[in-house]
Amino acid sequence: MIQVETLTKSFPGATAIEELNFSIERGEIVGFLGPNGAGKTTTMRILTAFIRPTSGTAKVAGYDVELHPLEVRRNVGYLPENVPSYGEMRVEEFLHYRARLKGVPRRQARARIEEVIGRCGLGDVQHRIVDQLSKGYRQRLGLAEALVHDPPILILDEPTVGLDPNQIRQVRSLITELGRQHTILLSSHVLPEVEQVCGRIIIINKGRIVAQDRPEVLRQSLEGGASLLVELKSPDAAPLRQEEAREALAGLDGVTSVDAEAVDGHVRAQLGLERGRDLREEVFRLTVSRGWILLELSQRSMTLEEIFVNLTTREPGEEEAARAAEEAREGVA
């Protein structure tokens, strides 16, 4: 339903997304995961033909977004990030306007509006003015709006942001239910959320895809990579230099990342390890050979949260980021 090839969008002075490639089949629920500013919204805006890509192609429901923007939009229901709506209109009136604008015939509009109002639980507020709605109801109104012309594809930009846990659960179950009839691409920067709803996750960072696969596979392939917490001290009174420790640790074979900080003259470092590696012995030998004192050495496996943070917090271009990304790709292949 959605095919994206080498899609690139640059704004003056910045590149929002760079050579994205992915495709989404009919009936899939795909999560688009990344920190703020990763390019999620930009990608979604291109897919709804709201902005034009700088290069590359995107096809939605078989139509090229640049050549047939109206056909693309007819097939897509879009929930923009901060759920804009006309504040002075009433809920029902707003949905009616949107339905007609999206080409729902007058005769069917009433039935469609009743259906989406029922589905999104807007029955209590259908005569209220949009400006007076709570955040939760606004979000549901946005969903109802996206659904009103019964499009085969839904593109939802952060559908649960700003909601309380209860509302999040409701929206989540609504999305799961919608997934039976619609192809859905939703974005989020909250990992557990997409993990529960989506059949597949695309992790994007700084405009590039760093990993994509089913959540279980992502977890399996990446979770193995453990991390090692090391605390070091120099043998004499002089404080241990952070750079020195960092360099030495990074030089170990099998270390993918070093996160070091100086605490009271000690150095605490968190090491990211390659999958299936146990470097406790090597670290011990290293400290002995340098004459440092080892205060702490503990190993733990990464949570999914950390995997995400790991994949998305490093500067692209850094060697280790490239390595991590490569690993992730290898892992999921």
Binding site: I51, L70, R73, R74, Y78, P84, Y97, R98, L101, K102
Partner: protein, 247 residues
């Protein structure tokens, strides 16, 4: 066409459900009422031609222009700037509508609102006709005149609104441009040395035709000028929406 109508209808509603729409209407009518009263008073001496009251009222007094130049930016400033500020432009332009349809709908709504400002003033000639016999055609031509000049001004305001996300900026820009377009031909015509320049300025002068129209002479040059400049400005507005897509 349905899309144009849907957009127009929503826009018209937003004029008439907000206090702004009524405030503008009320202020406009109050000021026009005062001007009408002053004109009537000036003409109430013995033997003065009653018909020329409407002629002066419709375009041949400076207040007419002050009101038009001040109120038009208020009508048009929000058309697109507000959609951009509140983000609803993302809804509008992810619905299956073309930029031209959006511009068409918005323009129609603003223009109809402009026309609706003048509708209550139709009472004035009715009032006058109870005191004297009026020739209806010059008055009809007078109203045709203000329908004509409103068209490019509303389009200008729409274009200015498409350039900014701030309503204030859009309003200031509209006012400045309208003022330029109005003031340059009226005041520079006399000073223009070159024949061609003077003729050009005469052609785009919006003030002078008011005299002819008031007398019942419908000048097709003004109609052509207004229609073509409106179309051109609408084209610019649609382009400005499209360019945003690539940015």
């Amino acid at each position: 066409m349905s899309n144009v109508w849907q957009i127009c209808r929503r826009e018209l509603k937003s004029y008439f459900v907000s206090p702004r729409g009524y405030l503008v209407l009320a202020a406009f009518l109050l000021l026009q009422g005062i001007v009408f009263y002053l004109i009537v008073q000036a003409f109430s001496r013995e033997g003065a031609p009653v018909g020329s009251i409407m002629q002066i009222f419709l375009g041949r007094n400076i207040f007419f222009w002050i009101f038009v130049l001040l109120i038009l930016p208020v009508i048009t400033m929000g058309l697109i700037a507000e959609e951009r500020r509140s983000g609803t432009v993302e809804l509008l332009l992810t619905a299956p509508v073309t930029e031209a349809q959006v511009i068409g709908g918005k323009y129609l709504a603003a223009y109809l609102y402009y026309v609706s400002l003048w509708v209550p003033t139709l009472l004035y000639p009715l009032l006058l006709s109870s005191y004297a016999k009026l020739d209806p055609w010059p008055i009809a031509a007078g109203y045709l005149y203000l329908l004509c000049i409103g068209a490019p001004f509303v389009a200008l305001g729409l274009w200015a609104s498409s350039l900014s996300r701030s309503q204030i900026v859009a309003a200031m820009l509209t006012f400045a441009l309208m003022f330029l377009f109005f003031i340059i031909p009226v005041f520079l015509e006399e000073q223009a040395r070159a024949e061609w320049l003077r003729n050009g300025l005469v052609y785009i002068n919006l003030w002078n035709p008011a005299g002819d129209f008031g007398k019942g002479i419908v000048d097709s040059r003004l109609i052509v000028y207004c229609v073509t400049s409106t179309l051109f400005l609408l084209f610019l507005s649609a382009r400005s929406l499209e360019i945003r897509k690539a940015a």
